[in-house]
């Protein structure tokens, strides 16, 4: 069995691990690093629950091999805020009821982080576009959109 010596920075911490090339980044984050905040839904690129940031851009971690993250920087939901000090996006989702069961939330939060950094004053239309690759089966999206609008306000300060 071929293994690969992987060096990757996740949420600011450098990790070195041996991985099989077929290990998906989503499984690496959850099983090898114990970062179970990244959720795995469909595992074929449809649901968006596994979205993380790679060098600041949103990607599907189930459609990326862990070896492909070698030398790159990954941000997962654990890298946003802490229980004591939530990220403004997390704060906004809490205040605006932007989640119900919460399964899709980690993928939405990471996607929204990259989006609001690129577009601090988005329209509702642009928010819907940005989240087109994230499925939520609870909310009907309305509160998610409102949470992103609130988050944008908070981040603009």
């Amino acid at each position: 069995m071929q293994t690969f010596e992987l060096t990757v920075t996740v949420n600011g911490t450098r990790y070195q691990r041996s991985v099989e090339p077929r290990t998906l980044l989503s499984d690496f984050l959850r099983h090898d690093l114990g970062l179970t905040g990244t959720h795995v839904g469909c595992e074929h690129g449809v649901c968006g629950a596994c979205s993380v940031l790679m060098d600041g851009q949103p990607i599907r971690s189930c459609l990326t091999f862990a070896v492909q993250a070698h030398g790159h920087e990954i941000i997962t939901v654990e890298g946003l805020g802490t229980r004591e000090s939530l990220h403004p996006i997390q704060q906004a989702f809490q205040e605006a009821h932007g989640l119900q069961c919460g399964f899709c939330t980690p993928g939405i939060l990471t996607t929204v982080k990259a989006f609001l950094e690129q577009n601090p004053r988005p329209s509702e239309e642009e928010i819907r576009e940005a989240l087109s690759g994230n499925l939520c089966r609870c909310t009907g999206y309305q509160h998610i959109i409102e949470a992103v609008q609130l988050a944008a306000e908070k981040m603009r300060g």
Binding site: M1, Q2, F4, E20, P21, R22, T23, L24, D27, E43, H44, G45, G48, S51, M54, Q57, P58, I59, R60, C62, L63, T64, F65, V67, Q68, T111, F115, E129, A130, S132, G133, N134
Partner: protein, 296 residues
């Protein structure tokens, strides 16, 4: 869910990638953005024994102005790069405008131009747009290199003329002709999903305002991206009137495309969509061409 085991190579140069393909040939799959290949591997629909990952080959990711006024796109150029490129917007406005229709932001971060074209999904945008624009592809192997026109490149479902040791390294998109216009029309259940039917139109007018050139290319209309040549022929030399456009839409949708029925739509419904979308695409393309005529 796990892909089956494979041997993994991530060469830093095109030369090394070609050497690996020459060595492993039929057993190898090329990994570009992975947004189609990795789902198929996750489901074990595809089980390559060797994977040649191009993501470390920086020399394959570029957008360059071609001397003829067109655009040269390196195979590993991400959709996101094209979407945010002023050069692409200027040189290949149809392709630039289509980017936001291709899947979702997370997929466009990774997905590549060369990967989409080589994968040859008949429902994908870039194969059909390459056909509509008269694009061509540079294929390279250790045996040499060759240019293949989009018309010749796509063979059937997920099948192209690429040999097992060949790599698509560049797409060349010719410049838009003078007094020309374009349009891409699609119907999808939800925005960004694969379209149930889609058509790209590229038209040019002559000095008298008659149709000089026309190209119509369809996605989700057969086992590969399809060009409607007879419909295009029916437009040439004609004024862009509603009757002429209706006639072309009739020919294309009833005689030239070959849609199939599946869980998403019947073949009959797809033909209906093709007729309506062709008319809309031609109206918009001729409108844009007329605006360019006034400016020019």
């Amino acid at each position: 869910m796990k892909p089956a085991p494979f041997e993994y190579f991530a060469p830093p140069t095109t030369e090394e990638a070609l050497s690996l393909l020459a060595e492993h040939g039929y057993d190898a799959k090329v990994l570009a953005g992975g947004q189609s290949l990795i789902p198929m591997m996750n489901f074990r629909l595809v089980q390559p024994s060797v994977l040649v990952d191009l993501n470390n080959i920086a020399e394959l990711a570029y957008l360059r102005a071609a001397e003829d006024g067109g655009l040269r796109v390196g195979a590993m150029t991400r959709h996101r790069q094209v979407e945010t490129s002023p050069l692409a917007a200027e040189r290949a406005p149809l392709i630039h405008a289509a980017m936001s229709k291709i899947a979702y932001p997370q997929v466009r971060t990774r997905g590549t131009f060369g990967g989409s074209v080589s994968h040859a999904d008949p429902s994908a945008e870039l194969p059909a747009l390459s056909l509509a624009l008269g694009g061509k592809f540079l294929l390279r192997s250790q045996r040499g290199e060759r240019w293949v026109a989009a018309e010749e490149f796509f063979v059937s479902l997920f099948t192209t003329v690429l040999e097992p040791d060949e790599l698509l390294v560049e797409a060349s998109i010719p410049p838009m002709p003078p007094r020309s216009g374009w349009s891409l029309q699609e119907v999808a259940r939800r925005p960004h999903d694969f379209a149930l039917m889609g058509v790209a139109a590229v038209v040019a007018l002559d000095e008298k305002g008659l149709c000089k050139e026309a190209r119509l290319a369809y996605l989700s209309a057969g086992d590969r991206p399809l060009a409607a040549e007879r419909a295009a022929e029916a437009l040439k030399g004609q004024p862009p009137s509603p009757e002429v456009m209706r006639e072309a839409a009739e020919i294309a949708s009833m005689q030239e495309i070959d849609p199939s029925s599946d869980i998403h739509a019947t073949a009959e419904f797809r033909r209906h969509l093709a007729k309506v979308l062709t008319r809309r695409a031609l109206e918009q393309a001729f409108q844009r061409a007329a605006e360019n005529q006034q400016e020019g």
